[in-house]
């Protein structure tokens, strides 16, 4: 099969970019979208042109590194899948496909389809943890966790930090990402001592990074490859509010 691609090319953060046309032929519907980009890049390299820069690593949908808009949708047309788990059978022979990097003020472009998502790391560093040094732990079974809460915590913890929620949001909000971590730890007894402080610090850092705010559009949930739920944002807002008005921590 054949695809006509319009790919965003941009040398680095200081230059302007543009869409460039490529045609890739001889494709197989069982190929993943990223393997198709591999084929394109191999052709470019052999012609002495620079290959398309794109982030990718595990290629099994868990590392969260791959990230691109495909026809304007974060990770492409398939529901609940990362770009690496998208297969060409989702396209028709001869389709024209637009490929672009995440667009968000807080994710500056590094090269072509590669963006800088280190803002997410800084949000975690601000409070997305339980303060327990190695060796301080008590026996694991001393902290029973209600099974339902453990399951809900796991649902939230499944976030892969890819940034699709930000990319999908018209406001460029990172609230699904931030709330997933806040929820995971808020649902577990281990997370209670720092619950208020965590909500305050992570939200503060989120704002400082230039992410937008939630206006209940729900695009983040719709595009999240791990189906993280919008209810996490509600939980985050509640924790943030409680911490802001009722807490003596700060």
């Amino acid at each position: 099969m054949k695809l006509n691609l319009k790919v965003w090319r941009q040398k680095n953060a200081n230059t302007t970019g543009k869409l460039v046309d490529y045609t890739v032929d001889g494709l197989n519907p069982d190929m993943s979208f990223l393997e198709m980009v591999d084929v394109l890049n191999d052709q470019l390299v052999k012609k002495g042109e620079e290959p398309v820069g794109f982030d990718h690593d595990c290629r099994e949908g868990i590392c969260g590194m791959c990230s691109m808009y495909i026809d304007g949708r974060a990770h492409g047309p398939q529901h609940a899948a990362t770009t690496c788990q998208l297969y060409l059978r989702s396209f028709k022979d001869g389709d024209t496909v637009h490929v672009e990097p995440w667009r968000s003020r807080a994710f500056p472009i590094v090269n072509d389809l590669v963006t800088d998502r280190s803002a997410f790391d800084r949000i975690i560093a601000a409070g997305g943890f339980v303060s327990v040094n190695t060796g301080q732990a008590q026996d694991a079974n001393n902290l029973p966790v209600e099974k339902l809460n453990a399951e809900k915590a796991m649902d939230a913890a499944a976030c892969i930090g890819c940034g699709a929620c930000v990319a999908a949001c018209p406001n460029g909000a990172a609230m699904l990402f931030v709330s997933a971590k806040i929820s995971q730890l808020a649902l577990l007894p281990q997370g209670q001592p720092e619950r208020d402080l965590r909500a305050l610090r992570m939200v503060e850092q989120m704002d400082a990074e230039g992410f937008g705010n939630c206006s209940n559009i729900g695009a983040c949930e719709a595009e999240c490859p791990k189906e993280i739920k919008l209810t996490n944002i509600a939980r985050m807002n509640r924790d943030f509010l409680v911490a802001s008005v009722g807490s003596e921590t700060e």
């Binding site: 040398k11 680095n12 197989n28 069982d30 190929m31 993943s32 393997e35 591999d38 084929v39 191999d42 470019l44 390299v45 052999k46 042109e49 620079e50 690593d57 595990c58 290629r59 949908g61 868990i62 590392c63 969260g64 590194m65 899948a81 788990q85 590094v110 090269n111 800088d116 998502r117 280190s118 997410f120 790391d121 800084r122 975690i124 560093a125 601000a126 997305g128 943890f129 339980v130 327990v132 040094n133 190695t134 060796g135 301080q136 732990a137 026996d139 694991a140 902290l143 029973p144 966790v145 209600e146 099974k147 453990a150 796991m154 913890a157 499944a158 930090g161 730890l185 577990l188 281990q190």
Partner: protein, 644 residues
Amino acid sequence: MALDSKIPEGKLQEKWEEYKEHAKLVNPANKRKVEVIVVGTGLAGASAAATLAELGYKVKAFCFQDSPRRAHSIAAQGGINSAKNYKNDGDSVYRLFYDTIKGGDFRSREANVYRLAQVSTDIIDQCTAQGVPFAREYGGLLDNRSFGGAQVSRTFYARGQTGQQLLLGAYQALERQIGLGNVQMYSRHEMVDVVIIDGKARGIIARNLITGKLERYFGHAVVLASGGYGNVFYLSTNAMGSNVTAAWKAHKKGAYFANPCYTQIHPTCIPVSGDYQSKLTLMSESLRNDGRVWVPKTREDAKAIREGKKRAEDIKEEDRDYYLERKYPSFGNLCPRDIASRAAKEACDDGRGIVPSGFGVFLDFSDAIRRLGIDTVKARYGELFPMYQNITNEDPLKTPMKIYPAVHYTMGGLWVDYELMTSIQGLYCLGEANFSDHGANRLGASALMQGLADGYFVLPYTIGNYLSAEIFTKAIPTDHPAFEEAAKAADERMKKLLSINGKQSVEDIHRKLGKIMWEYCGMARNAEGLTKARKLIQELREEFWSDVKVTGQQNEFNTELDKAGRVADFLELGELMVIDALNRNESCGGHFREEYQEQGEAKRDDEHYLYVAAWEFKGVGADPELHKEELKYENIKLQVRSYK
């Protein structure tokens, strides 16, 4: 240099306690002055960097990905072993130790493995305290499952994403230390050389993958936790970026490389389906709890399936060969990975493979569905079935899965002593990157355990024993001649790569190397093939250095140049693997030499090969020098590893 494993004296059960009680300490005021470099942020690297920072050391951590959270530990599905004995089913530290030694086919160190089993219980406590959402029972306590041939339930898990959750726990601990200013994090940085001054590791040269510039970093000690080298086979279950470069550069600077030929081929992966394929996807070993592996009894039926004339459902029960159940009645479909993989190869080599390439077998859930009902089976393998269906476009609830073994894990790696120090002073190696505690074959759910044991509970003690003597060493300026020299060599190598301007892409040559490795140094090896492979690799290396085409410039974002450097190192490592496989005239664990078998089973030779083969680098293409570390079994009796 003679190999000194520095195993403490005394009874097996007391060695680690004894060691900890006498290891030298660094006082808190001095720790602040001591800098440690950690390369890699997977389970081993992130846990080590976080713990060292908690202790007060100044840490610099490096990863090539855009964030430390991406390291490939994240992809581990099944679980983590621990001798908690929460199930009251007779597990103990000794039993986990014994199973790991036996699973490793008696090619690992007793003292290291015992320590691993001991600290395995602390790991679960630590991770739970961090908020890792392990699976729970209705009473709120932690759940366990049995895994990979163990007769007890000692595997803790977080759905099919245990690696992800453990890594995120370690990553969060690391980010906390970054936020506190105790760790300086360098993402999108690749270590391209280690700097040795007066025989001690004193820093690294790293390439900033965004600017392309070479940067220099000093450390009183350097810790490598850079993962395994399975990508030497091109196709593997590793991430695309997984590479041997950090470990290989250390090897070329004097660190011995141990048991490079021990490769784990995982039996349940999705078969190769085309030349474009970039990686192989693992289907969790837990599927073998309910799935039955089979091929048709006759070549005719297999051929008909390959050609699409028959389907699995058309083959009658009596015409199917459930070969694992037939050959290994006591363990059946749950026999260890190396054995299950070899049996699949044997069936396919016999002409009974069931995918067009000939290399695939069925993993059939129809019995389980009949016995348990479709809903139970679906719930049990919730994420795995849709993942398989997404990739292959076939529904495993309706037709058997097709699987084939694929390269998954490398037991070999840099040689380390009991303190995890390599043969270079002050250079440590953790996790999959070291030659590890898994001997010749790793058991399921043991990799996560080892990575976290090394990083949380072993290195933080052992490194103090070395650093206590380093507190008077001032930070060495990075214009020291040794830094200059290493940076210059790295710079010249990149210039050379960019100047060849040949016809083949890096990918082309990597793919060729993979084919050689898989054909001659894969699931079955023999002297003739290995001898041939060495020559082929040498020729391919020449081809690479004369005909590769690397586009772009040096001082910019350039993924082709990143890849070229990694493949150049794989081309050297591949030769060492072949040399090691040729040297080991026996079959053990993941290393199967066709000349050494007894009725189709691996035949070990304890009389001549009860040692760790640690290789010293003597130049590219030259014969490396073999150093032997004899393995002493004082607590466990050597025996034939049988799963029949």
